[in-house]
């Protein structure tokens, strides 16, 4: 029956969602869509997928929502313990290694999320993405993840300019995310963009097509 809708989607596309991180001149941008849904049904438009770890480090977790929440709480615990022991904030490289180890610990029963990390290592931008079992990929331009990752890669390749100022980075990052979301049924319903600079973080919510 063509009208019974139980789609055979991969488990990573059950909730949908997209995250993107991009580097600029001494700044990093990280953005996500805000949709929460179950396959084709949309339930909320205020479900962010990017979390603050510290003032210079953000983590994006697209994929299965329950695993995203659990992983975020586990990492929050580990980061807090690190800060108590080391009496300093965790740096992006060390944090990426931490995430990678936790994911590989569950090699044969993984968390269905492919994280994206964006932060400042001193004043140098750092972006990293990994697959669901923790293989890290560090690039010097941008990383993407989520249900529209192919569209995101395509548009980032076209629109990315190295060493942009925070304002220009915001525009480029937003356009990449918005246009890729418009080609994906299970991402969208708003966007949140964070621009991290050495002086602070600017966060903006974008009003987008609500479909």
């Amino acid at each position: 029956d063509p009208y019974c809708f139980a789609l055979k989607m991969s488990i990573l596309q059950y909730n949908g969602g997209s995250v993107i991180a991009m580097t600029g001149k001494n700044c990093v941008g990280i953005a996500c869509d805000r949709r929460f849904g179950v396959q084709q049904l949309t339930l909320a438009g205020d479900f962010d997928k990017v979390f603050k770890i510290n003032d210079k480090l953000f983590l994006g977790l697209p994929g299965l929502a329950t695993d995203m929440q659990t992983l975020h709480e586990k990492l929050r615990y580990r980061v807090n313990m690190y800060r108590l022991r080391e009496e300093r904030d965790v740096s992006p490289k060390v944090f990426a290694k931490m995430v990678s180890s936790i994911l590989y610990e569950h090699r044969w029963g993984p968390y269905f999320t492919e994280p994206v990390i964006g932060g400042l290592e001193g004043d140098k931008p750092f972006v990293c993405s990994m697959d669901l079992i923790g293989c890290p990929m560090v690039t010097d331009d941008f990383v993407v993840s989520g249900s529209s990752n192919e569209s995101l890669l395509g548009i980032c390749e076209s629109l990315y300019i190295p060493d942009q100022s925070p304002e220009d980075l915001f525009e480029t990052l937003s356009q990449c995310l918005l246009n890729a979301m418009d080609r994906d049924c299970i991402s969208g319903w708003g966007a949140t963009v964070h621009i991290i600079t050495t002086t602070g973080v600017t966060s903006r919510n974008l009003r987008t097509r609500q479909d």
Binding site: Y3, F5, L7, K8, M9, Q40, D184, C185
Partner: protein, 212 residues
């Protein structure tokens, strides 16, 4: 490799000697005929397209919301315009309302090609009716022609959930027709994957005396 011709206008006899003469490119322009391969049972072959493990590009588009209802001002038809292949949006500007003729509209849900082709075919049938009977075809008759055509292809994998809406001598008319050959007369219908949501809104807000 022989192909037979499935004639959907008049039931032609394939053994007819006149048909045997049509060879080469002349046969390709034979009107009102669809080719099906003779070597394989055609329904089994066509069921290949219903398998769940197909690559994305081979899956037909089903994500749609269409609705229509009768009210004091006539019939109103509303459709979305998205086409999706799995989770990928292939187009945001699809025309899902098909103009069968100046007073009949059809909607598209299910396979886009199936709906577009057979509703165009219905338009041809309606025009021929007008020429033979010197009056416009009624919505009831038009929807019945479509339903009967689809019933002939029942089980062969056509995918259509369409509404035929229009105006005739007895006023506004609305029928739901689908690929199983179902034909239902009604005042309010919604078809497609989003139909459940549309029914929720319609059932709470519908009144016959809504203004335009």
């Amino acid at each position: 490799f022989r192909m037979s011709r499935l004639d959907f206008f008049n039931q032609l006899n394939p053994a007819d000697p006149l048909l045997q003469e049509r060879t080469g490119h002349v046969a390709d322009f034979t009107e009102n005929a669809l080719s099906i391969p003779m070597s394989v049972a055609s329904t089994e072959l066509l069921h290949e397209f219903d398998r769940a493990d197909l690559p994305e590009y081979a899956k037909f588009e089903h994500g749609t919301t269409t609705l229509a209802f009768i009210f004091q001002g006539g019939v109103i038809v509303a459709v979305d315009s998205r086409a999706s292949m799995g989770s990928y949006i292939s187009s945001q500007t699809v025309k899902k309302v098909i103009e069968i003729n100046e007073y009949l509209l059809g909607t598209m849900a299910g396979g886009a090609a199936d709906c577009a082709f057979w509703e165009r075919h219905l338009g041809e049938q309606c025009r021929l009716y007008e020429l033979r009977n010197k009056e416009r075809v009624s919505v009831a008759a038009a929807s019945k022609m479509l339903a009967n055509t689809l019933y002939q292809y029942k089980g062969m994998g056509l995918s259509m959930g369409t509404m035929v809406a229009g105006w005739d001598k007895s006023g506004p008319g609305l029928y739901y027709v689908d690929n199983d050959g179902t034909r239902l007369k009604g005042n309010l219908f919604s078809v497609g994957s989003g139909s459940t949501f549309a029914y929720g809104v319609l059932d709470s807000g519908y009144r016959y005396d809504l203004t335009e």
